[in-house]
Symmetry: C2
Subunit: 103 residues, 2 copies
């Protein structure tokens, strides 16, 4: 079963930190409830640059999430208020490997 | 021309902050000089969780970078000292879009 990754990298404005954090938490909660969602991970540095990667079972699942009504409204607020810039890349995962310290 | 992304997400140990930062800067410099490298972006949060995404012209370019002698030595140090855990995903970019604030 293929896995798809959505790489979302963004530069925050300095506006509405609390509103933004609430919206980000809500979006993760909504995404987790979407069909075909696998998992997501996110890091943002002290300068407001962040990368979030979410993983999905199919392009259809990504499309449905992109068009989700509440998500669409939050995307609008993001462009209006919360992001200086962002880019989105949709990718097919070809291979992966993991490392975890064993002691 | 296809673009490939290498998503490297990692949890840092709390060891050797300066050595790690020097090595990370050196690796970016080396990667930028590799054939087929396009660009990279990186964010790490205050808890030491980070995501770096590098973009490449081909899987061959990624393979050559993975096997680069100095990079291989740094990968060894990373597993020994600098990372609690990491994972690497190699992906083909299928589509992308950008947003930038216009004033």
């Amino acid at each position: 079963m293929p896995t798809y990754a959505v790489i979302f990298s963004s530069q925050r404005t300095d506006r509405e930190t609390n509103e933004y954090k609430d919206a980000a938490a809500r979006m993760l909660q909504l995404a987790e409830a979407q069909p075909g969602f696998r998992h997501a991970e996110s890091a943002r540095d002290a300068q407001g640059f962040g990368i979030t990667v979410s993983y999905w079972e199919s392009l259809e699942a990504i499309r449905a999430w992109h068009q989700h009504a509440e998500h669409a409204e939050i995307q609008r607020l993001g462009r209006e208020r919360w992001y200086e810039s962002f880019n989105v890349r949709v990718c097919q995962v070809e291979r992966e490997y993991d490392f975890s310290r064993s002691g």
